[in-house]
């Protein structure tokens, strides 16, 4: 307990310096600014804005990135509520009731409750990270390569089971992602693999490059299909009365609590994360509501629950990253990329060796959330005006901005071309109903999986049963298998599809 207070105090000490507060504020602002643009999700936003943190000291850079992350997420909800275009998967459910509320002239309370819910969830998750961080780091020591591998398999299966659409196609996407992660030099032998003697490929495909391609460029190209004059259902009424009424608060409060709990748990699981948390929370709220028919017609719980859940999950997903060094989702993988640029290797050691970095970042997430409440409500008018910019002007700007962003990561023109190529791949994937998110997760976990698989088999002298004979690993594998079986069982499938149909 003393440790906990000490750690948090250390963190707030770091985060409350004027310069770091400033960086957090800028990050949150810029993140929201980009996140608000329809069709640009959190992943693309973070990837696009990575370069602006390069010149900063490590702590400052991470604090700013955390701000960008939260800003992007909040910006996504703003777009969902005001325009009915989810900026990204996590805010898909927010469109259901949020946009209805906006249509009824209650956009203000919807936005406010999203921010308040996120803030509350953020507070709880911050404490949770502080509480669980140290013991989980100890658990990490009990993890051998076999356990690591099994844990990642479990994480990937989680992502598959809870992704929408065909289980088989999602697994295929993961395999595709893992395969992509193998381009470049082999970690152990240094042999160049599938790089075709292109020097820029020797280091492997840049994660930011691929993410920008499949999530940034592909999304733009797809939006163009529909014509630049995308029917945008922008709420035209003037937004009056930002603050929710007492009745709103009373209705939303329990939903926020439930969403926070659900999100915190789901966020810790690798491969889980924010998307699932928001869907799960919406389903839960609808199930336990006295009058489920209110949902989809502007029920405030339908905004409060999922928004709290996705923020809690976003925050607790730092736990596997900081304790086990496993990035549980694509955004975290980008964070790893940023840390590596600053010479930090995430994992149990960071917690012990650079506590001010870890706790500073955790504290700054909390501050970032607070800032979002303070800055965003007055700025809603600006976001609305930004949303009125026609897409025909917006998309070339986004293309150029992305191109400059990718180029500046390594000063490599080849990266820009690769991102363009992955844009076309992403476009093709969308056309064939393949989800790009599992592919990216596969790409993120690929190198770690390969390394641990190789080590585990080397230690066991080539005996594959090691994954089933070590107890911890066996439990993880059994859970993964059970999940997979459940997912293909017809009864659960039907239920799962029902959940996802609601977004239509």
């Amino acid at each position: 307990m003393a440790d906990l207070v000490h750690n948090l105090a250390l963190g707030f000490g770091v985060a409350f310096t004027p310069i770091n507060l400033m960086l957090c504020l800028i990050g949150a602002l810029v993140g929201t600014l980009v996140g608000v643009l329809p069709g640009i999700g959190t992943i693309a936003t973070v990837a696009m804005l990575l370069p602006i943190t390069f010149g900063l000291p490590p702590v400052g850079a991470l604090i700013m990135l955390a701000g960008i992350y939260y800003g992007a997420q909040y910006g996504g909800s703003t777009t969902s509520i005001l325009v009915n275009i989810p900026g990204e998967a996590t805010s898909v459910v927010t469109t259901l009731d949020g946009h209805q509320m906006a249509k009824q002239g209650r956009a203000g309370p919807a936005l406010a409750i999203a921010a308040i819910g996120s803030f509350f969830a953020g507070c709880v998750a911050t404490v949770l990270i502080a509480v669980l961080g140290a013991p989980l780091t100890k658990l990490a020591l009990a993890f051998g390569p076999a356990e690591y591998f099994s844990l990642m398999v479990l994480g990937l299966i989680f992502a598959v089971v809870l992704a929408k659409g065909s289980v088989l196609k999602a697994i295929a996407m993961i395999a595709f992602g893992i395969l992509l992660s193998m381009v470049g030099s082999d970690i152990e032998t240094g042999a160049s693999r599938m790089a075709f003697n292109i020097p820029e490929l020797a280091d492997g495909l840049g994660f930011a490059t691929v993410a920008m391609g499949v999530f940034g460029f592909a999304e733009i190209i797809r939006n163009l299909d529909a014509g630049a004059a995308m029917s945008r259902d922008l709420v035209q009424q003037k937004i009056t009365g930002l603050m929710p009424t007492k009745k709103d608060m009373l209705e939303a409060a329990p939903a926020i609590g439930r969403g926070t709990v659900l999100g915190s748990i789901l966020g810790i699981l690798p491969g889980g994360g924010a998307v699932i948390a928001s869907f799960a929370s919406y389903t839960l709220e609808k199930k336990i509501a006295k009058d489920p028919s209110r949902f989809g017609r502007g029920a405030i719980e339908g905004v409060a629950g999922p928004e709290s859940a996705n923020n809690a999950a976003a925050q607790t997903s730092f736990i596997p990253l900081l304790t086990l060094g496993i990035p549980p989702n694509a955004v975290m993988a980008l964070m790893v990329g940023a840390m590596t640029i600053h010479g930090i290797v995430p994992g149990p050691q960071v917690m012990q060796k650079q506590p001010e970095l870890v706790w500073g970042m955790i504290a700054s997430m909390w501050i970032g959330n607070l800032m979002l409440i303070i800055i965003n409500l007055p700025l809603v008018g600006i976001w609305v005006r930004l949303l009125r910019v026609p897409y025909r002007l917006m998309f070339p700007s986004i293309v150029i901005f992305c191109a400059i962003g990718i180029y500046s990561v390594n000063n490599a023109p080849v990266d820009v071309i690769l991102a363009g190529a992955f844009g076309l791949v992403g476009y093709w994937l969308i056309k064939h109903d393949f989800e790009p998110a599992p592919m990216l997760l596969g790409m993120v976990l690929g190198p770690l999986m390969e390394e641990n698989l190789r080590r585990a088999l080397l230690i066991s002298r080539g005996d594959w049963s090691v994954f089933l004979t070590r107890p911890l690993s066996a439990v993880l594998m059994a859970t993964a298998a059970a999940l997979l079986i459940l997912a293909v069982l017809p009864s659960l499938r039907k239920k799962r599809d029902e959940v996802f149909v609601e977004e239509g």
Binding site: F176, L224, D225, F395, I404, H432
Partner: protein, 166 residues
């Protein structure tokens, strides 16, 4: 995500026995990717003793992808599924062209020319572009980026063509 896919109306170019062309083609292309990866990793070292060679894991996962791609293709063959979605050429073509032109001109011509030219090329991606408007926004964006990246963020960008600086 939330929009309904625009399925091509009218007759399918596929024979009747392919029930779900979307999955059928999707699976086939994944198999092609897997075969390409198998070919690309053909001369990497395989297992030696208990330890993996450089090529073991790529071949393993390429094999897995091949099997999964086959599975997806089979599903497309057996189960009724959606037809192929319509592709448009204009958006993908001009956006890709803009990206490629940026990549090729950023080094020799500098940020100003490269960004503006690519902006205009990307703007061709839709027939709804109004040129005056696009030129003005393009200039603003170029000026903004030229201030933001090299000055505000201190990233090493060359603004103007090499021959003009020297």
């Amino acid at each position: 995500m939330s929009d309904t896919p625009s399925h091509e109306a009218g007759k399918s170019i596929f024979p009747k026995w392919i029930k779900g062309p979307e999955d059928f083609i999707g699976g086939l292309v994944l198999m092609a990717f897997a075969l390409f990866a198998l070919w690309a990793s053909r001369d990497l070292q395989g297992m030696h003793g208990f330890s993996f060679g450089a090529g073991t894991a790529p071949r393993m996962f390429a094999g897995l992808l091949l099997a999964l791609g086959f599975g997806v293709m089979l599903m497309g063959l057996i189960f009724e599924g959606p037809p192929l979605q319509k592709y448009h050429w204009r958006g993908p073509f001009f956006v890709s062209l803009a990206i490629v032109s940026f990549a090729f001109t950023i080094r020799p011509l500098g940020l100003v020319i490269s960004a503006f030219a690519s902006f205009m090329i990307a703007a061709l991606g839709t027939e709804e572009t109004r040129w005056m408007e696009a030129i003005i926004v393009g200039i603003c964006l170029t000026v903004g980026c030229s201030l933001l990246f090299p000055y505000a963020l201190g990233l090493p960008f060359q603004l103007f063509p090499r021959f003009m600086i020297q």
